[in-house]
């Protein structure tokens, strides 16, 4: 049976018009169990074309499992996942054409040169040699590895290997990039380089699904985030929506000269104080109010005679959102 004959019905006619409206990723009731452990519990997720989606959650929450299912490496126990309209279990061949997958852990072959490595994967995707000859220098340029084209891949640094793996994902020009922790174990400089590359890919119109603890740094380029915990999606939407859904509006950092415990008790009883943490730096509170309420709080502290060293507002970012959702269960609505 030819591939054309195997295509789903929606592709039979007016394919062009309908394709544009098909979401890049459509997941419904997706579940996966490993023995008695339920890694995914009926997840629903829709990601439209051109979106950069940040997948947030603690280790073991089900991010990698979801990504493995999308990459056709794992079968779901229940539910379905579609990539560009193709069910991953029914049309894995079509799905593989459309995705570039970068796993959280990957290895490289020994005694293989960078350029040969890319040629091998290019050929494995059926790209003719002449096309590869033109394409691979561009890819190496994109990931800043042009000067390493004749180096053996096993001698490259971790950051370089990560970038090479990203180039490998791009070799067949996929529409969707599934990047599982692409910045794990990278030093700050390598992370910045990775971020710059991702920004370029976003500009190229790729749909990207990315799980990473680099997320705070990626805040401005991620369009949507999904938060997954214990195999269930706890929140999904654009970054601002998610932040608004949480009661956390702002973080306040307060340092006092003395009477810290007394101040802690005093703050607990104030309105809009959702959560309070104490550390060497002083007291950190999750404040639910706006400027007026914040000013009132400062005024109340001064009136009560507390000796303030500083009273500052910390910027909320994705990391705070992440911590809020995954640790502060009580405070999340």
């Amino acid at each position: 049976m030819s591939i054309e004959q195997k295509l789903p019905e929606e592709y039979d006619s007016q394919a062009g018009d309908q394709r544009a409206s098909v979401p890049m990723i459509e997941i419904k009731g997706l579940s996966r169990t490993f023995g008695s452990f339920q890694a995914l519990k009926s997840i629903d997720l829709t990601i439209h074309k051109g979106t950069v989606f940040g997948f947030v959650g603690p280790n073991g929450a089900g991010k990698s499992t979801t990504m493995s299912i999308l990459a056709t490496l794992l079968a779901p126990t229940a539910g379905y996942a579609k990539v560009d309209g193709y069910d991953v279990t029914k049309y894995p061949h079509e799905v593989r054409k459309r995705i570039g997958y970068m796993p959280d852990f990957f290895g490289v072959y020994d005694n293989f040169k960078t350029i040969e490595y890319l040629h091998f994967y290019g050929a494995s995707y059926g790209i003719p040699k002449a096309e590869r000859e033109a394409l691979i220098p561009q890819l190496l340029e994109l990931v800043n590895l042009s000067d390493k084209k004749d180096a053996y891949v096993d001698t490259l640094s971790r950051g370089m290997k990560q970038r090479l793996c990203l180039a490998r994902c791009l070799v067949h020009d996929p529409e969707l990039l599934i990047l599982d922790e692409p910045a794990s174990g990278l030093d700050p400089r390598a992370r910045i380089e990775m971020r710059e590359i991702l920004r370029e890919l976003k500009a190229m119109g790729k749909t990207i699904i990315i799980s990473s603890h680099i997320l705070p740094e990626l805040a401005e380029m991620v369009d949507e985030i999904g938060v997954i915990e214990h195999g269930t999606m706890t929140a999904q939407g654009n970054v601002t929506d998610i932040q608004n859904r949480l009661r956390v509006k702002r973080f306040l950092q307060i340092r006092l000269l003395d009477r810290v415990e007394e101040a802690e008790q005093f703050l607990r009883d104030r309105p809009y104080v959702n959560r309070l943490l104490r550390d060497e730096q002083g007291i950190q509170i999750h404040f639910g109010g706006h400027d007026a309420e914040q000013s009132e709080l400062l005024h109340a502290l001064m009136e009560a005679g507390f000796k303030l060293v500083s009273f500052s507002e910390a910027q909320t970012n994705l990391e705070d959102v992440f911590l809020e959702i995954t640790k502060g269960g009580d405070d999340v609505q």
Partner: protein, 301 residues
């Protein structure tokens, strides 16, 4: 002009069909590791040592070292043929039992599985590349065999048949190695399982034959007209017996007629080594089929 272009396209299609990316990578990387060179070196060293010891022994035991006895060289050739079979039994699992699990352990397998390469291409390319390397090793032992030829007494046909038998046994053990490598997560366990199966094929089947024969002989003493001719077929599972039946075709008749009363004797339909090949063709095909099916998870419900 048009024809030339079409021919060129046809050639490149043929080339891409013969050498797929996985095979190309396997060939390239295998020849780049010093391990391949050392494998070849120690293999030749071992076989050379066995060969020279055998020549020395036959010459000194034969008494008259000045004359060349064709019978002696036949013994030498047989000895070499079985020694090489033993070495292959050691080499084939070692070279194949890690080809998939090794990639899994190195975390390169998932990257390969998300490409457009089919499971059968991956499995068969791994098998062909390992087989090719083993064939290179076995062919490189021909100069050692040529020393036996100096003494005469062996036909080239026998030599060719023996080498084809080696290729076959490498294919069989290689298929089992790849199957275990696909089914079992760890290379170490896969290597042990493949050697275990190898040991059973080489030694276990022979022991089984002798045990069953002992039992059958006991039973035949107690009843008249008791025939157990089928026990010869147990030996058809043993590669040593199969190789011996290539070297000495009369072995087949001897084994298959064992246990029959003289009136019940009939000419065997196929040679012992042919039966061996049929049995293991089915088993190896089954092993490869299982590897291809189990390489990727079963996605369809």
């Amino acid at each position: 002009m048009k024809n030339t272009a079409a021919e060129g396209r046809g050639l490149s299609q043929l080339r891409s069909w013969l050498i797929n990316p996985v095979l190309n990578k396997e060939f390239t990387l295998r020849m780049r590791t010093p391990r391949s060179m050392w494998t070849l070196f120690f293999y030749l060293l071992a076989l050379g040592f066995i060969m020279f010891s055998a020549i020395y022994l036959t010459q000194s035991l034969g008494g008259n070292s000045r004359s060349f006895n064709p019978e002696n060289s036949k013994v030498l050739f047989y000895f070499l043929a079985f020694a090489q079979l033993g070495l292959i039994a050691f080499m084939a699992p070692g070279l194949t039992a890690g080809v998939i699990s090794g990639e899994r352990e190195k975390q390169t397998l998932n990257l390969l599985l998300t490409t457009q390469q089919s499971s059968s291409t991956i499995i068969l390319s791994k098998l062909v590349s390992s087989l090719s390397f083993m064939i290179v090793i076995v062919l490189s032992t021909i100069p050692i065999y040529s020393m036996v030829f100096l003494y005469g007494g062996i036909s080239p046909k026998q030599l060719v048949l023996v080498f084809l038998f080696y290729v076959y046994i490498m294919f069989v053990l290689g298929s089992f190695g790849i199957m275990f490598s696909t089914l079992l997560k760890r290379t170490m366990i896969s290597v042990i399982a493949t050697y275990g199966v190898g040991l059973f094929i080489f030694v276990g089947t022979a022991i089984l034959f002798y045990v069953v024969m002992g039992v059958m002989q006991q039973m035949s003493y107690n009843s008249t007209n008791f025939s157990y001719g089928w026990i010869g077929h147990i030996l058809a599972w043993n590669p040593i017996a199969a190789l011996y039946s290539i070297l000495e075709p009369s072995l087949t008749t001897e084994i298959y007629q064992m246990g029959y009363s003289s009136s019940g004797q009939k000419k065997p339909a196929i040679q012992l080594w042919q039966e061996f090949m049929l049995i293991y063709a089915v088993l190896a095909a089954l092993a490869l089929w299982l590897s291809i099916r189990k390489l990727r998870p079963r996605l369809k419900k």
